[in-house]
Subunit: 350 residues, 2 copies
């Protein structure tokens, strides 16, 4: 965040909001030191000092009202959590530890004011609640907020930048899968898509404000509302050097597996009966539903993997094949036999 | 940019646009190597390898249609140039060399199509022309495009992330100015504000499409339409260790000087007669107009500075004073005597 001019006694606009963000982001000085962030919010740039032998991983993800979240479906804390989780998940996919997050927010003025239109009231504003969700997840994953930008906008947009660190030459890439490698996934699949479908039902009957989720539904909606980036699992795979390729499931298994096949120049087959489908999800949601933020990775067939990494199950779901002209890049094996698997994930501008 | 699935022969949406960006961004492999970018577009993250003894500077700047640019005032090439210049200018202010840029674009679908609504025609689309301007400036300043994100949006938004490298502990900060230091500025002031004012006049009489700028006006509008980030000047100051504090003039001299005073805990006085006012600008535009992207810096009074750095004039415009209760942080000395100088730059949500 660029530091803007503040005048004593004036509680207004961007100045006050920036001051609050800077204050809240500065809370955890120990964490900041440990992560490698040397200078945070307040200057033209933040300064990051990687440790000897490390390189830096950088990712950005743009979230837009109506596309990646909806102001009338999602509580502000949920949006803050999900915006950051998207970025952290990309670091997890590379096996990187988080160093710092940067947040660019474009917000309608109303979201920076309390319900009565004033900023200096006791009730929390939308953006304060957004930061509650954002900073709670940041703390969980030792990720200091190191900067960003703020602007007034007719549409709510949030661009998240994550910088991580990983030992040089050891990052998990999409491009390393070899024919014969086995294909694994962490956690369960389709839970986010199933949770979203349920949320849409609830929100449709709730009106203009985002619905409060009844306690008994919280667990079912959790994969959509508060996905957990697999940082510990990515670090485990990277440090042991056991994964030949990896990426995170953001667009859906079929689409993300297609990315892996394309970048590695290989084909793949999935065993439908082996898929760890979330109890609330369908096979289609497990295959094509996005935003599970689990890790998809490959390993040499001789590699022995535990049943769980840092408490999250690991399941073998298929294997890598040679790419051959005339054969589909992806095949689904089920009781019906082998069928081509097509990528049916989300695409913009299509 | 996350790599998305592409199917041979299909020319559609995000896939085609991403493929084009990846292709165009990959042109300069030599540059990529030199800058420290080890892995660019195509994986979950880009990988950056700083040189020994370097730390990384990171900045993000959000640009929004109607706030930072206007689709009906600015040609797409101009918007691409200005989006990147904003980020590069923050690196210049720290004395950092560019390593990589990341671009998150949210665009209405119409901007990714040619005028006839199809993507596969000979006429260039808005986003292609945006990239023309963006990549031309990136090449000038040896800045590879290393990633980003794309999304469909009802409002055009562009978030630019710049990563730079600087020798550890040598970055130019806002916080180092000391009483007695002299205050300097590169280039001329107010030219961007004057250029914008002229553009608004031209655009108002031109209708819905952004006006083509007549050749005889190009030079006058250049400070607004194609500002040059002072990378070489920032590097010069950093390498010689002559600046005690620095920042870039993005919000306007009065507002940015207030930032410097606040971060350094000092006051400042400006000599109006010394200001290098752009020939087309007024004193008010030089004092308060934003987006000149010149560097404002301080140096010890014993420091001898050249009249120009890398071809850009350097002008002494005032000095740093002790901050004192009851005295304004900023004073303007002119023929009328000494007057308090107030920060009148841009603020969102105010």
């Amino acid at each position: 965040m660029k530091q803007t001019h503040s005048e004593a006694g004036r509680e207004r606009g961007e100045v006050a909001l920036l001051a609050e963000i800077r204050h809240r982001a500065a809370h955890d000085a120990g964490l900041v030191q440990k992560s490698g962030l040397r200078l945070g919010i307040g200057d033209d740039c933040a300064l990051l000092t990687p440790r000897a032998g490390e390189e830096l991983a950088v990712t950005t993800d743009l979230s837009i009202d109506g596309r990646h979240f909806r102001l009338n479906w999602h509580q502000p804390e949920t949006i803050g959590h999900r915006v950051l989780a998207r970025g952290l998940s990309d670091l997890a996919a590379m096996g990187a530890r988080p160093v710092a997050a940067f947040l660019s927010l474009g917000l309608p003025r109303s979201l920076t004011c309390a319900a009565d239109g004033r900023r200096s009231t006791r009730s929390r504003t939308w953006v304060q609640r957004f930061l509650d969700g954002f900073l709670a997840l940041a703390e969980t994953y030792n990720t200091p907020l190191a900067g960003g930008d703020l602007a007034e906008s007719t549409l709510a947009v949030a661009d998240i930048v994550l910088v991580g660190a990983v030992a040089r030459g050891r990052a998990l890439l999409r491009s390393g899968a070899k024919p014969g490698d086995l294909l694994y996934v962490t956690g369960a699949l389709g839970g986010a898509a199933a949770g979203l479908a349920r949320l849409v039902e609830i929100a449709s009957s709730a009106g203009a404000d985002p619905p409060r989720i009844p306690k008994k539904l919280a667990a079912r909606l959790a994969p959509h509302l508060c996905p957990q980036p697999r940082i510990a699992q990515g670090l485990w795979l990277q440090r042991r050097g056991v994964a030949s390729a990896a990426l995170d499931l953001s667009d859906g298994l079929s689409t993300d597996l297609a990315h892996l096949c394309e970048e590695s120049g290989v084909a793949a087959e999935i065993d439908a009966s082996a898929l760890p489908i979330h109890p609330a999800a369908t096979l289609a949601q497990a295959l094509h539903g996005g935003e599970d933020y689990e890790l998809l990775f490959t390993a040499h067939p001789d590699t022995r993997l535990p049943r769980a990494i840092a408490g999250v199950p690991v399941t073998r779901i298929g294997r890598i094949l040679k790419a051959r002209a005339g054969r589909p890049a992806m095949t689904l094996i089920s009781l019906k036999g082998a069928q081509p698997l097509e990528a049916h994930g989300w695409e913009h501008f299509s």
